[in-house]
């Protein structure tokens, strides 16, 4: 060890200096990042940008004079705070959306926003207001369903226009949540649901009663038909037969009522034989 130092002092020092120089000037750009090289505060070149030619790898810079700003190359996430949106028909809705964006023009981004965090801070209020504007033009139910797609496309285009100023590109905007605000709107929705269920319960009960009534009536009708078919064969005899049954039922004292008194006239059919042959 000592001997090496004695014999190759100059080359060892040169090697060390070269190593230190290399460490200072070389930088690695990973796949996930893009880099803007800033020379004395002025962006001069980029590495591994979405459209650029120079890709990830190891690169050199002039130490101290050139500075490297590393920027995320992947798709970033812009989250919105819960925003209360007033719909066209004056209903309030709590909306939460997110946008996905990436830095497509890193030089502009470095100049205008500094960091990706700066881009987020700049874009968030824009997303909020664009979304509010766009949804505010729609009715409550449209917000929920059909026009959601076109509304979001509009929001994305609007936001994208603004984002380009910061070197960013908006890929997608999605509504994450659409909720009713706490308090009166939520309570009235609950009330509406409740009354809706009450109506349903009532309808079901009424339908049950109706069906029951119909079933009874049909049974009565069928019974009547059975009677008619049977008794209609000889209405005269039925009259007699039924009368006999009826007398039994009416005059029989078996059901605990007072017994009946009958005054018979001598002309009565029953007494025909009683009088003897005339």
């Amino acid at each position: 060890m000592g001997r090496i130092w004695e014999e190759h002092r100059a080359s060892v020092i040169a090697l060390g200096a070269a190593l230190i120089g290399f460490m200072l000037s070389a930088y690695i750009v990973p796949e996930e990042e893009q880099v803007v090289v800033i020379a004395a505060g002025e962006p001069v070149r980029t590495v591994n940008t979405p459209g650029g030619k120079t890709e990830a790898g190891i690169y050199l810079r002039i130490p101290f004079y050139e500075r490297v700003a590393r920027i995320e190359k992947r798709v970033l996430d812009l989250d919105m705070t819960d925003e209360e949106v007033l719909s066209n028909d004056q209903q309030r809705l709590l909306v939460n959306a997110y946008a996905r964006f990436r830095i497509s023009d890193p030089i502009r981004m470095v100049e205008r926003a500094g960091t990706t965090e700066g881009v987020r801070i700049a874009l968030e209020p824009i997303l909020n207001s664009v979304l509010r504007q766009e949804l505010g033009r729609r009715t409550f139910s449209a917000m929920l369903t059909a026009e959601r797609g076109t509304a979001l496309a509009n929001v994305r285009d609007n936001l994208n226009r603004q984002a380009r100023q910061y070197g960013a590109e908006v890929i997608d905007v999605q509504i994450k949540r659409t909720d009713l605000p706490d308090g009166a709107p939520l309570q009235s929705a609950f009330q509406r649901m409740e009354t809706d269920r009450e109506r349903e319960a009532r309808t079901i009960r009424a339908q049950g009663a109706r069906d029951a009534r119909i079933i009874r009536a049909e049974a009565d009708a069928q019974a009547a038909k059975i009677y008619a078919d049977s008794f209609g064969k000889d209405p005269g005899f039925y009259d007699f037969y039924r009368a006999m049954q009826s007398y039994d039922a009416t005059f029989a004292p078996e059901n605990g009522n007072a017994s009946s008194s009958i005054i018979l006239s001598p002309d009565n059919e029953y007494l025909r034989q009683f009088r003897g042959r005339r």
């Binding site: 060890m1 690695i28 990973p30 796949e31 996930e32 990042e33 990830a56 790898g57 190891i58 992947r74 798709v75 996430d77 139910s141 959601r148 890929i171 999605q174 509504i175 994450k176 949540r177 909720d179 009713l180 939520l186 929705a189 609950f190 649901m193 809706d196 269920r197 009450e198 319960a201 079901i204 009960r205 049950g208 009663a209 069906d211 029951a212 079933i215 009874r216 049909e218 049974a219 069928q222 059975i226 078919d229 049977s230 008794f231 000889d234 005899f237 037969y241 039994d248 029989a252 004292p253 009522n257 007072a258 017994s259 009946s260 008194s261 009958i262 005054i263 018979l264 001598p266 029953y270």
Partner: protein, 378 residues
Amino acid sequence: MAGKKSPWGGGSGKGPDDGDGPVGENGDSGNDEPGSDKAKGPRNPWLPPGSEDGGRRAPNIEDIFRSRGPEGPRRGGGTGGPGFRLPPRPGGKSWFPVAVAGIIGVGLLTTSVHLIDPQEKAVVKTLGNYTRTLDSGMRFSAPFPIEVVDVEDVTGVRVVRIPETGQKAKLILTGDQNLVDLSYIVRWNIKSLENFKFSLAEPVETVNEVAEAAMRASVAEKTLDQTFSGQGRAEIEQRVRLRMQRTLDAYRSGIEVLGVEIAKADPPADVVDSFRDVSVAEQNADAARNQASGYAQQVIAQAQGEAEAFDQVYEQYRLAPEVTRQRLYYETMERVLSKTDKTIVETPGVTPYLALPELRRRAQQAQSTTTVTPQEGQ
């Protein structure tokens, strides 16, 4: 030496010149133990008995350096313990280059040989630039600063639970502006590791957000009743899966959505009673229908019975109409008249006195005394 002392207490690492035993209370100099009054407090239960200075579990770094005295760790080499010296290397050279070479060797080995499990894959970045993907098995790469290997579970199914367990239920608006309390599970894995690694900054969080957006959009297309029905649920699950996949593909996320399962779809807790009332109403309606059906059976059976009875009698009547008729008449009259009061007015011209007051009195008696027998008036 140090090895014989308690490895936990402050006595360890003190070196041979520290004469105090491990039992010496506050035996160390004051500046050595700034928290020496801590020893008076409750004893640290993790310390072995006898070690009273339980202020710390391990010696701090200053102690180690100080106790080693002039033979600091740099001179002594990383491999030796305190005061420990390796036997001299043959040839009288230092062990230092050997140790450095050893560390570098281990480093090379651990960063260039990779054992990748069956469900895993790995991306390799050569000087930051993505170069290749490693399949499972024993794989090699250039050592650390040159190539970086990032191993990830690819085929293993990951499960996202929304809302997360313990989180407050989120109510989702349906297309008919009702609210439903929904919880669901999303299963996903990675279909393209390169995209997964290099397209999205936060892929896992993205899955959650995309799932929530897709679920709310899909529920908004359905009515409340549909979300409760089995078929509607299946449709929602299917749509959420397709929506998520479309969105994630648009992000080039490399994520495959394997399935979405709705674990629970309930009415919100505030209105659950009225939903129960609906099912009660259904029961009530069914009960009414059942009762009516019972009545119908009864009425029809009775009709059939009576008709059959008449038919039977009529059958006989037709064989001998006059006789049967007379017989039925007399039999009935017999039954009726035998049990009633009879008055026969034989002589023409006699006006019968109708004992109406008498009849009324009898009727009243019959009503007031419930036990009255029919024969009472005779």
